[in-house]
């Protein structure tokens, strides 16, 4: 087992950087989730770690060994593929024991390791089956099993849950996290699903257009996003990002869609707020619908059962901005209502209009 370090790793595809000087450290035993929209370079990063993709520049280390030109078989990492890539001509047991067999382990060792892994994954009854005769969830477990029997330096997982149905995905989310903690192997887990990122990772790395945006523990990522992209990507429904004018005079007066909100000095002080414009971010659950505040019209309501999403438009003098608020279940709000909303400003975020970076002091 070992730590993993990306040190300024860059991958150029057809003249364009798919991964742009990525620096990321994964501690031994840590569960790191790499999340981002499709095409952001997260899978390329994972494949470079596996040795399936060439590194253009930079260094990649497993433990303290630079592995840039080390063959995949000598890196001692195990990978779980999105489509599982089970060997169709081998039984479940053979699939799981294959890597050990290649390494010349004795039959007894292989058998006992496979049966241990099968125990953990509840696959004991299926060891003699071919992959074709398994359900999607079982195939996923076999793919996991193939990785864990090897006790590798690191687990690499490429969207391993995306081919499962919603219910199974929730189940396997917990299962994978449980097994990873049980084995304590450094893990790089790639996904586009921010829920998986939030629930599974010790830390989460957010990527966009080949560039690392932020690495943090899930709650920190949620509470202190480094920029407007992370703010909008993490959380469902996403954070509302509104254009706001700033007038600073001790307290700060924000003008949003032609209406004014006062931000007390106490709440403004953690941010570099100067006169001009900012991007104002507020999460749906931090919007309070009441009798006073900004005037808003309800455009649409989506009842999700446990809560209701209220789509609002803030309207004044032709300048209109949209936002989404959360209301309780069984709310009486309907489309067309005129409401007033206030913001829980202690949870507000402020970002630079051009760079998108947070204006929080000390970031």
């Amino acid at each position: 087992m070992a730590a993993i370090t990306f040190d300024g790793v860059t991958k150029i595809f057809a003249g364009k950087p798919a991964v742009d000087s990525l620096s990321l450290h994964i501690d031994d035993g840590e569960f790191m989730v790499l999340v981002g929209p499709s095409g952001c370079g997260k899978t390329t990063a994972l494949r470079m770690l596996a040795g399936l993709e060439e590194i253009t520049t930079g260094r990649l280390l497993i433990g303290d060994q630079v592995v840039n030109n080390v063959l995949p078989k000598d890196r001692d990492v195990a990978m779980v593929f999105q489509n599982y890539a089970l060997y169709p001509h081998m039984s479940v047991a053979q699939n799981m024991g294959f890597a050990l067999k290649i390494r010349g382990e004795s039959k007894d060792v292989i058998r006992s390791k496979v049966s241990d892994a099968a125990e953990i994954l509840r696959l004991t009854d299926y060891l003699d089956r071919r992959p074709r005769a398994l359900s999607g969830g079982q195939r996923q477990r076999v793919a996991m099993g193939r990785a864990i029997v090897r006790s590798p330096q690191a687990f690499l997982m490429d969207e391993p849950l995306s081919n499962l149905d919603a219910k199974l995905r929730v189940e396997m989310r917990l299962e994978i996290a449980r097994i990873q903690r049980l084995l304590g192997v450094a893990t790089l887990y790639v996904t586009h699903d921010q829920v998986e990122a939030m629930t599974m990772g010790d830390r989460v790395a957010v990527m966009r257009d080949g560039q690392l945006q932020q690495v943090a523990r899930p709650q920190d990522l949620y509470d202190r996003p480094a920029n407007d992209f992370v703010a909008g990507f993490i959380g469902s429904p996403p954070m509302n990002l509104l254009r706001a004018g700033v007038a600073r005079d001790g307290d700060v007066t924000l003008s949003i869609a032609g209406q004014s909100v006062t931000l007390p000095e106490r709440l403004a002080s953690p941010y570099h707020l100067a006169n001009g414009e900012v991007t104002f971010g507020i999460r749906p659950e931090d919007i309070v619908v009441g009798a006073t505040g900004l005037r808003a019209r309800v455009e649409r309501c989506e009842a999700l059962g446990a809560e209701t999403l209220v789509h609002l438009s803030l309207n004044a003098k032709g300048a209109s901005q949209h936002l989404v608020a959360k209301a309780g279940p069984r709310t009486t709000i309907v489309a067309g209502d005129d409401l007033a909303v206030t913001f829980a400003l202690e949870h507000a975020h402020f970002f630079d209009v051009t760079s998108g970076a947070t204006l929080r002091v000390g970031s």
Partner: protein
Amino acid sequence: MKARRLTLSQRRQLAGVVFALPALALVIGLIGVPIGQAVYYSFTQWDGITTTWIGPSTWSQAFHNSDLWTALKNNAALLIWVPVALGLPLAIAVLLHQRVAGWKIFRSIYFLPTAISWVVLGLVAERFFAYQGTLNSIIHAIGLSGVTTNMLGNESTALSALGITFVFTMIGTNTMLFLTGLATLDPSLEEAARIDGAGRWRIFRHITLPHLSRFIQLAFVMTVIALFSALFSLIFVMTGGGPGYATTTMEFLIYQTGFSQGQFGTAALYGLILFAITGVVGIVQLRLIGSDL
């Protein structure tokens, strides 16, 4: 340990080259090089041992040789059997596709002659067309006792006998192709047409046939190439190119010119002409089946 310095993709490419190399050596050495040699030798007087450069005059001489034109004419005349070699199997495939009782056994029987060597089929065909053969027995059996044929012995009919035999030898392969094509036809299309009130012929003409067009094209190309380059065995055992030059096709002319008359250079030249013909047909084939090349 020098290999350690290679990058991963260099190693992959190196492996690719190494893996492809034995096959490439075989194909270049035994197909590529001889083509080049054939081009060279076609400009020489060559008996297999000594070569004398003559230049392009070999080509003009060759085109003045009536044997070449006879062979080309025979090949062209055989082309009229291609529609038969396609139409008959198409009809048989459609019949098989009706899935009458025992159709799988029929299918196996229809394909079986494909496994027989054309040498053997040629011998059997010779027996069929012979003076005391089956064809004359049939003619006598239907009451025409005065008529006796000897198709292989007659200059005007020998080529037709060869064509008929060729059609017979192609039935298995082409039927198999068309049957596969029919199997991939979505039955709901036929059902929809039937609901729309289309009769059998209309369904065949407007649904089945268009669906089969790719398969028909492939079969056409395969049949034409076989016609130009696979008749050797049949000719060798049935007619030996005769009577006269009546059944001498290009490929048989090459064999005769080279190995009976020892004119290796001229034979190589004829080979290039044959290659040019099959090459044109082959390009068509590549475009048909190799859209993803």
